[in-house]
């Protein structure tokens, strides 16, 4: 298939991860790296970037109902078809003895990465409350919730700091709300630990030509979505600004409508 052409693909299985999140297994094989993403098209509705949850066997994505389109994704049934194009972007490096820090729907690409770590890693997940957590059937998952309904009460970054002090990892991988990732970077810097983070920006083409997703000098869909600490330190917009759908530079607060 041409790289930027959606291929309609049947949904083989749907798994409910929590009341808001579903994992969709597709009738498609794809060679991809953890951290790369695909564009998922729901004909007549919209097309959205989605991290690859797994591509070991069939392609899997994990979707959280956030707005109109993601809501529609979670209402799909087994046997329905959706359009898939990709994989796009640059994924994570692959360094064992790492810590992964995921927030909310930032978990899927980290789960993907973790699968080839032979357990040689620690995984931390933060969420607002217990029923927002996902992949908790994983026995080694450490969790934090804002309301303390499960795991540590407070920020997942508190857990990160504790784990680094316990045993310094060779690298930290993170994906989740951008302010959380900023905090992760601060901690890593303080402790002299390397770090990679996966960014979200508004995407249209996914192939690096439309300029919708730029963040500083970076084209997130092409240069990222995964960036290294060195890259992020030099990026004046990381943790600060994002382009709106109309390419207006907004603060992250404005971009997320105060939700971040």
């Amino acid at each position: 298939m041409a790289k930027a052409k959606p291929e309609m693909t049947r949904i083989l299985r749907i798994k409910k991860e929590n009341p808001y999140v579903k994992t969709i297994t597709l009738d498609m094989k794809m060679k991809a790296e953890p951290g790369q993403f695909v564009m998922i098209w729901l004909p007549g509705v919209d097309e959205k970037p989605m991290s690859i949850r797994s591509s070991n066997e069939n392609l899997m994505i994990t979707v959280e109902a956030r707005g109109k389109c993601s809501e529609a994704f979670t209402c799909l049934k087994e046997g329905n078809s959706i359009g898939v194009r990709g994989p796009y972007g640059k994924g994570f490096s692959h360094v064992k003895d790492c810590i992964m820090v995921g927030g909310g729907i930032g978990m899927p690409p980290l789960m993907n990465l973790s699968e080839s770590m032979d357990g040689n890693m620690r995984m931390l997940q933060g969420a607002r409350t217990k029923n927002r957590l996902i992949f908790t059937d994983r026995h080694d998952m450490m969790t934090a919730t804002d309301d303390g309904s499960e795991g540590h009460r407070g920020f997942v970054t508190d857990l990160l700091e504790k784990e680094i002090l316990k045993k310094k990892p060779r690298i930290v991988y993170t994906c989740g709300p951008e302010l959380m990732m900023v905090k992760v970077m601060e901690i890593c810097k303080r402790h002299g630990v390397g770090m990679e983070a996966s960014l979200e920006r508004y995407m249209r083409c996914g192939i690096g030509i439309c300029g919708s997703c730029v963040c500083g000098k970076s084209i997130v869909c092409l240069d990222g979505p995964v960036f290294t600490m060195e890259q992020l330190e030099k990026n004046p917009d990381f943790g600060k600004h994002a382009l709106s759908r109309s390419a207006k530079k907004l603060t992250l607060g404005e971009y997320y409508g105060g939700k971040e």
């Binding site: 098209w41 919209d46 359009g83 300029g211 730029v214 084209i219």
Partner: protein
């Protein structure tokens, strides 16, 4: 070998980043300049803030891309900050503007004047907005627009961008010349559609979109050739150029500069350097010292 002059503007090479390709932010325009572009064109600026179309906005087919971004942009009133930053652009900066009325164009030109872009393109050729082609549908309307805009642009050259979606490029080009255009850009995308037969739907949410990339090249070369013949104006030849040979072909058809758009997808972000290198190599092998020696060479 490649340094060239266009409307009195000096460029290190004739390759110009086409409007709408990564041109949304000053940082990326500057990055493209640093990565080898001779000049860069901003994403077209409109009268008001516009969110553009819902995804999918792009789809590839066997020999090109189809896009219908729908001219997303903050509107000129929100552009002051970006224009300030673009004062640091290390190569000539072309602005591009669109509007629904003559007044829209004039307002934006007045706003842009103080930032002194090297030239202002008039995007009267976008197939992805309901009235995107209204100023191209008949030559007299085109002439009036260009003439009105030219009155307000002062010393800044005005470059209408032509559409292939017309029954006569010579008439359209000649109307631009009569209106006072300093140069022409030929061409914007050709209106097209890609249907996904399993989904039984046009892939793009806007249904139709603009064809760019290799499929557009012979149409673009013809439009450049016809525009050159009809007007003698300097031309930015745009459409399907992905190699140095393609760029030379455009120049022989009559282009002084060559627009580079979809090539950034086909060749990667290093496209400018790759294409410039290929041009130099071809020129060396064919004993051509300067682009002026081959501009319009396919005529006569």
């Amino acid at each position: 070998m490649l340094p060239t002059e266009f409307l009195g503007i000096k460029l290190k090479n004739p390759l110009v980043l086409a409007s709408g390709i990564l041109g949304t932010s000053p940082e990326i325009l500057i990055r493209m300049a640093e990565s080898g572009a001779g000049a860069v064109t901003m994403k077209s600026i409109g009268p008001v803030e516009r969110e553009g179309n819902i995804n999918p906005n792009i789809v590839e087919f066997d020999c090109g891309l189809l896009n219908a971004m729908g001219l997303p942009g903050p509107g000129y009133k929100n552009m002051a900050g970006k224009m300030e930053e673009l004062k640091n652009c290390p190569v000539p900066l072309f602005a591009s503007i669109y509007g629904s009325t003559v007044q829209d164009f004039v307002d934006i030109v007045k706003f842009l004047r103080e930032y002194r872009p090297a030239a202002i393109e008039l995007d009267i050729s976008c197939p992805n907005k309901d009235d995107g082609l209204s100023f191209s549908a008949d030559p007299e309307t085109t002439r009036q627009l260009v003439s009105e805009v030219r009155k307000h642009s002062g010393s800044i050259p005005v470059i209408p961008k032509l559409t292939p979606n017309t029954s006569s490029i010579p008439l359209l080009a000649e109307a631009c010349r009569k209106g006072g255009a300093d140069a022409l850009n030929a061409i914007n995308t050709a209106s097209g559609m890609v249907i996904n037969i399993e989904a039984r739907k046009p892939v793009l949410k806007y249904k139709k979109g603009g064809v760019s990339g290799p499929a557009l090249k012979p149409i673009a070369v013809r439009c450049v050739y016809e525009s050159y013949e009809a007007t003698g104006l300097p031309i930015i030849g745009t459409g399907g150029v992905t190699t140095g040979r393609d760029a030379i072909e455009m120049i022989m058809a009559g282009a002084s500069l060559v627009g580079i758009g979809s090539a950034l997808y086909y060749r990667g972000l290093d496209a400018f350097r790759l294409i410039a290198g290929e041009m130099e190599e071809w020129m060396k092998n064919n004993n051509i010292d300067s682009l002026q020696d081959i501009t319009g060479a396919a005529h006569g």
